[in-house]
């Protein structure tokens, strides 16, 4: 109903793509396009507290499958890949950057919610060539548009 209520492009937060397998992610991307969306996000979280993230290689395979499905659609569908390790215990910015670089190589727009400060925003933007998503709303980890634009341009 959101897609059909506006002339604006809409991208949907589709969590982990409603399944573990890369093929499931690909199918989710196709269904998203069928639903009228022009983009979606897929994340690397399993939804399991003890082992919250897919391991590196499966996380990348899943995004690669989604990106391939997106490229096959016949129009420019933007797949945004979310690395969520900063949202859990023992966050490592190095691991975040590694995952985002692999997601970017797989053909997705990179996104890591929970970057702790503007230095981290700058580090992530510098390590990537595609535009980077930043999520505003997390307490003490939200910055103004001007601050974010500044961190990108450092």
């Amino acid at each position: 109903m959101i897609v059909n209520a506006t002339d604006l492009p809409v991208s949907a937060d589709l969590e982990r793509g409603f399944g573990d397998a890369p093929d499931t992610v690909a199918e989710t991307v196709r269904l998203a396009a069928d639903a009228g969306l022009v983009g979606c996000t897929i994340e690397d979280t399993i939804g399991n507290r003890d082992s919250p993230l897919y391991d590196f290689s499966l996380a990348v395979e899943r995004i690669a499958a989604g990106a391939q499905a997106a490229r096959a659609l016949g129009f420019s569908f933007i797949l945004t890949a979310r690395a969520h390790n900063l949202m859990y215990a023992n966050p490592s910015l190095g691991e975040t950057v590694n995952r985002l670089q692999a997601f970017e190589r797989a053909g997705a727009v990179p996104f890591a919610p929970g970057l702790p400060d503007l230095d981290a925003v700058h580090a992530v933007c510098s390590a990537l060539s595609k535009p980077v998503n930043f999520m505003v709303g997390l307490k003490e980890k939200s910055f103004s548009v001007a601050e974010l634009a500044g961190a990108y341009l450092w």
Partner: protein, 242 residues
């Protein structure tokens, strides 16, 4: 999807209401010798035909204003419900859900509001500013089932841009210089409001989409492709977006 169900529910209520009215009209017709109050005297509606042609053909200048119906409803509750009933079903005054009223032109209703039908007890409402009278007209004409569905349809099917064009715009936003801000709507109303504020693209939030359905973040499921179109899967993450 929930909104669609809610709208269907609303239509169902209105259908029931108008059937009840039709039955009531029938029983009245069967006992015509009983008292003729304005409520059950069909001739009251002939007043609408007395509007001069020029007045009758005036379009409602607020027909594109989505807030007019809501504003008109408040005015109705304040000024009209006492005589026409809380749901405009008729009380001392006639039902405004009747076909005669719903098929009347906005201009004819505006003319009645402006001039009243004093001998039948309808006051002159010219002291209400013109825009408020048009808001009342918009509200009254939103009451019929056919009008509700027309209004709903015109709101939902306002898309003038294809998916390909949307996709190209979204791509251009990513490729362009600077920063763009993509806010999170959770239903049709918030979508319209955010679009009206001038944002260039929208993104759903799984947490918000789940909350709208009374679920925790992570509670949405994809459902099947058929489900995404069939609107019968409450927990369908894609259906709630499309």
């Amino acid at each position: 999807m929930k909104a669609r169900l809610a709208a269907l529910g609303l239509c169902a209520v209105l259908v029931v209401a108008s059937l009840a009215f039709a039955q009531q009209g029938k029983s009245v017709a069967g006992s015509r010798s009983a008292e003729r109050t304005p409520r059950n005297d069909a001739s009251v509606y002939s007043e609408l035909a007395k509007a001069p042609e020029k007045a009758r053909l005036r379009p409602n200048p607020l027909s594109q204003d989505l807030t007019a119906i809501a504003a008109g409803r408040l005015l109705f509750e304040r000024h009209c419900a006492e005589c026409h009933g809380d749901s405009a079903e008729g009380k001392k005054g006639p039902s405004l859900r009747a076909e005669e009223v719903q098929n009347a032109t906005p201009g004819a209703l505006f003319w009645i509001l402006t001039n009243g039908v004093v001998r039948r007890g309808m006051p002159v409402w010219s002291r209400l500013p013109e825009p408020q009278r048009w808001q009342l007209v918009a509200y009254i004409q939103s009451l019929a089932v056919k009008n509700i569905s027309r209004t709903f349809e015109s709101r939902v099917k306002c898309i003038s841009v294809t998916q390909k064009e949307k996709a190209a715009r979204f791509r251009a936003l990513h490729d362009g210089p600077g920063v763009f801000v993509i806010p999170n709507p959770w239903d049709v109303a918030s979508t319209r409001i955010l679009a009206g504020l001038g944002f260039e693209a929208l993104a759903t939030s799984s947490a918000a989409s789940a909350c709208v359905l009374g679920l925790r973040d992570g509670g949405l499921t994809r459902g099947s492709g058929a489900c995404a179109r069939a609107h019968d899967c409450e927990r369908d993450g894609l259906a709630s977006i499309s």
